[in-house]
């Protein structure tokens, strides 16, 4: 085991759980901006996730330090000394000090947005002041713009620049769609598991009284599954038809040997199976089924990000990458659970909570 292999595994684990964190950030923003009632029951889950931003930033520091060591160059080839003439052209953007500065800016933007929104939601629990919701909408709508822009540069920095010759304009938005998908699956798993296996309140009541909630989560997962497939296919088809060496390297590496199998599994299990299951109304009515589909989606998100990130590495240790994923996962989930324990289960005084809990109940009266 070399330091490089360790760094690769660390980076993979970090990118995966960071993507889930950002999914929580993105859905929190989306929810507050559109003020729909669909995400009210999972708002505290999203908040517990987005509150891990500072931890994830601390966890990135070892990677940032690595940039200034000789091993860094083996991970990110754009790090000095740069001899390749194409990469020399990119130093205006890809250079260590600017890279570090950008990370600070991203996290500062994300964290300030989240603290304003989380605090306002918590304040409203106490004060019941309906103006808080308007305040959050006013912050979250432009917040989405800032979020999407920063995400674009962030994934370019973290993942795309692992192969500094390669570029694809849809890549970051593709990651964003995947983040949304995996966060929805994650939240759906938590809610359905608690209601269906653990018979915990208030989840049992929510699922029983408001069938719209599971339908909405199912339909959102369906929409994101389709978007994921649409973005993936677009990127593939355009690169395949162009057939330019600087771009096709991405797919060539990912269709060698076992990678090809993983890629094929993604088409079937990240798209086809969940797509067909989620089309059916029955899946969206039965907590056990919905849990199963969400679990499948989440597992395939792991495979997909593995398939995307790891082939960028030179001679990685696969077991170590999996260990990196698990170690980060243990840390993330522990802190996530702690955040959950420290907050109320539902945003109690949001005026739309009643709507979210009982819309189904009144319509069936």
């Amino acid at each position: 085991m070399t330091l490089l292999q360790f760094a690769q595994a660390y980076l993979f684990g970090w990118v995966f759980w960071m993507t889930l964190t950002l999914g929580c950030v993105g859905l929190t923003l989306l929810y507050h901006a559109v003020r729909g009632s669909w995400a009210l029951p999972i708002l505290r889950i999203l908040e517990a996730g987005n509150k891990l931003l500072p931890v994830m930033f601390l966890a990135q520091i070892p990677i940032l330090i690595l940039l200034f060591t000789p091993t860094g160059h083996e991970l990110y080839h754009w790090l000095p000394p740069v001899t390749d003439p194409v990469l020399q052209q990119k130093t205006f953007y890809l250079n260590p000090p600017f890279y570090v500065a950008r990370q600070v800016i991203y996290f500062a933007i994300w964290w300030s947005l989240m603290s304003v929104l989380n605090r306002s939601a918590a304040r409203q629990d106490v004060s019941q002041d309906p103006r808080e919701a308007q305040l959050r909408a006013n912050v979250a709508a432009p917040g989405i713009v800032a979020f999407v822009l920063t995400i674009t540069f962030a994934y370019t920095d973290w993942v795309m620049s692992l192969d500094p010759h390669w570029f694809s304009t849809i890549f970051s938005s593709w990651f964003l769609v995947g983040a949304g998908l995996m966060t929805l699956a994650f939240a759906t798993m938590i809610v359905t598991w608690r209601a269906w296996r653990m018979q915990q309140q208030p989840w049992v009541d929510i699922l029983r009284n408001n069938p719209g909630f599971m339908r909405d989560m199912g339909n959102l997962m369906l929409a994101f599954t389709m978007l994921w497939a649409y973005f993936s296919l677009s990127q593939f088809l355009i690169i395949w038809s162009g057939n330019l060496p600087e771009e096709t390297s991405y797919y060539l590496r990912r269709t060698e040997g076992v990678w090809l199998l993983l890629g094929a599994a993604l088409i079937g299990l990240q798209f086809l199976v969940p797509f067909l299951c989620l089309l059916s109304g029955r899946t969206k009515r039965t907590p056990g089924y919905l849990f199963g589909v969400a679990l499948l989606i989440f597992v395939m998100r792991v495979v997909d990000i593995f398939w995307t990130v790891v082939p960028f590495f030179e001679e990685p240790s696969y077991p170590l990458c999996i260990a990196g994923f698990l170690a980060f996962g243990a840390l993330w989930l522990t802190l996530f659970a702690q955040n959950q324990r420290n907050a109320t289960v539902l945003p109690t005084h949001d005026p739309r909570l009643q709507e979210a809990l009982e819309s189904g109940a009144t319509s069936h009266a």
């Binding site: 990469l87 010759h165 570029f167 694809s168 938005s173 677009s234 355009i238 009144t362």
Partner: protein, 494 residues
């Protein structure tokens, strides 16, 4: 609101009465909308002025086409290297405009968005007429439109078979499917209203025409049940079309290796651009028409607000596309990509790039402010700017990318001729001509859906009916299965 005070057994705030304010009855709604068709005295001077101008422009189109067929595409400004000019720009522009209609009629229906009800008929007609304008351009660009059927894969003795790997061929299928499904969707949605007009018309000739078109519609419970199934099926079929058509249009460019065309963000960014341009056109038409025909309580400011918000959101996606294009061109380190971007920004066509950024990047940001969204004048102005911006976007992508590619020896300039402009303005004439003709002969707002909306406003919170409405929210769907024989349906006679 008066209504919710009278009947409000459920708390106000479901937003329904905001979409149909004031006092109405089933009869008055039928009268109001139907009379625009049946009472020709309703049409005042604005209709005649617009129709006359449109008709004049339509003649310009006819003239441009005639001369084109006589002399060939050499009368256009296209050349080598810019072999695609106004023809493709205008094709993409028109096809994009149509997308708002499909989004409103199909996706917003499936998403149970009530506010689509009063604008869907109108927007669907717009889709059809925009596709009719779009289709002309590639057809005429072939130079020999009478041989257009060669693009279809049919067994022939010419030993010819279309190139299935080319997105240009996919376009043939995508656009013709789109036109067919849109026409069906529009017509099926019209049937109950045609029945209503048949019953309301006095003149035997009109009765006959509407009677044939209504296809024997009687408004029975069975008819409504069949109708619902057909309409939902068509909505399901149309939904992927919103994405597929413009995705394939974006592939026309993206699968090539021309710098400025070959970029992976194109599909979603083209689709967003299409919806963006489409809503600009819906607003362009709806703002004057609702004023001329006094429809302010059917197409409310709430509708305008929603459309403006969608325009803002899709406009932001489009602007994000521009940012990605610019950033990754420089990030790529590829000298052709970098040159393409520098040429866009500072080359001979730099004016078009900066005008584009102004129209699609800067101006729509005013829509963040509710004061602007609720001001019809500014909303109208912004819609015009957006339409121009989306046209410029295609100009920048097509002409500016083509005129300087890999080989400096191949570089050239593109100047449209009077015939390019003649055909372009002519299609605007054709579109307006068809739109205003439509307003005069068919109900531009869905009569029965408005009755249904009214039904749900006055019966809110009454257990059984609320359940029926709630279960199927989709405005279009309501009359039928659960309710007793047609509240709005039996009311067709009015």
């Amino acid at each position: 609101m008066a209504v919710s005070n009278h009947h409000g057994s459920s708390p106000a705030g479901d937003g329904l009465s905001e979409l149909l304010p004031g006092e109405h009855s089933y009869r008055s709604l039928g009268e109001r909308i139907g009379s625009i068709v049946l009472n020709q005295n309703k049409h005042r001077w604005p209709w005649y002025v617009v129709f006359f101008i449109a008709f004049a422009l339509l003649q310009v189109m006819m003239l441009s086409i005639t001369w084109l067929l006589w002399r060939g595409v050499g009368i256009w400004g296209i050349n080598i290297p810019v072999a695609w000019g106004f023809d493709i720009i205008n094709f993409v522009w028109w096809i994009g405009i149509g997308h708002a209609g499909t989004l409103i009629s199909a996706i917003l229906l499936l998403l149970r968005q009530q506010w689509r009800n009063s604008i869907n008929r109108f927007a669907e007609a717009m889709t059809l007429f925009a596709v009719a304008c779009a289709g002309l351009f590639p057809l005429l660009h072939t130079g020999r439109p009478w041989l257009a059927y060669w693009m279809l894969p049919y067994p022939n003795v010419l030993a010819m078979w279309p190139q299935f790997r080319s997105p240009l061929l996919w376009d043939v299928f995508a656009v013709s499917t789109y036109a067919t499904v849109s026409a069906l969707f529009w017509f099926v949605g019209l049937i109950p209203d045609l029945g209503s007009l048949r019953d309301r018309a006095r003149s035997p000739i009109l009765k006959g025409i509407f009677g044939v078109l209504a296809m024997g519609w009687r408004g029975s419970a069975q008819h409504w049940a069949r109708y619902e199934t057909a309409y939902l099926t068509l909505a399901g079929l149309s939904t992927p079309l919103v994405l597929s058509v413009h995705t394939i249009v974006s592939f026309d460019f993206a699968v090539s290796i021309v710098p400025g065309w070959h970029t992976t963000i194109f599909p979603p960014y083209f689709v967003a651009g299409a919806v963006y341009a489409g809503f600009a056109m819906v607003l362009t038409l709806a703002i004057p028409v609702r004023k001329w025909y006094g429809l302010e309580d059917l197409i409310t400011m709430k509708h305008m607000d929603w459309m403006a918000k969608i325009m803002l959101a899709t406009g932001l996606v489009v602007f994000y596309g521009y940012i990605c294009e610019a950033f990754y061109a420089f990030y790529s380190g590829n000298k052709f990509e970098i040159y393409m971007m520098t040429n866009r920004m500072f080359g001979p066509y730099a004016w078009s790039y900066w005008a584009l950024i102004f129209c699609n990047g800067v101006v729509p940001q005013f829509l963040w402010f509710p004061q602007v969204r609720y001001n019809l004048f500014w909303l109208f102005v912004i819609s015009q700017v957006v339409s121009v911006g989306m046209w410029l976007e295609r100009f920048v992508i097509i002409v500016v990318s083509l005129h300087r590619d890999y080989l400096p020896a191949n570089w050239g300039m593109y100047y449209p001729t009077i015939w390019d402009w003649g055909l372009y303005l002519g299609t605007i004439g054709q579109f307006t001509f068809l739109m205003f003709g439509f307003i005069r002969v068919l109900p531009m707002i869905n009569i029965f859906e408005m009755k249904d909306l009214w039904h749900r406003i006055i019966h809110r919170g009454h257990g059984r009916v609320a359940h029926a409405g709630d279960g199927r929210h989709g405005g279009a769907m309501a009359p039928g299965t659960v309710q007793p024989l047609g509240s709005p349906a039996a009311d067709v006679e009015g």
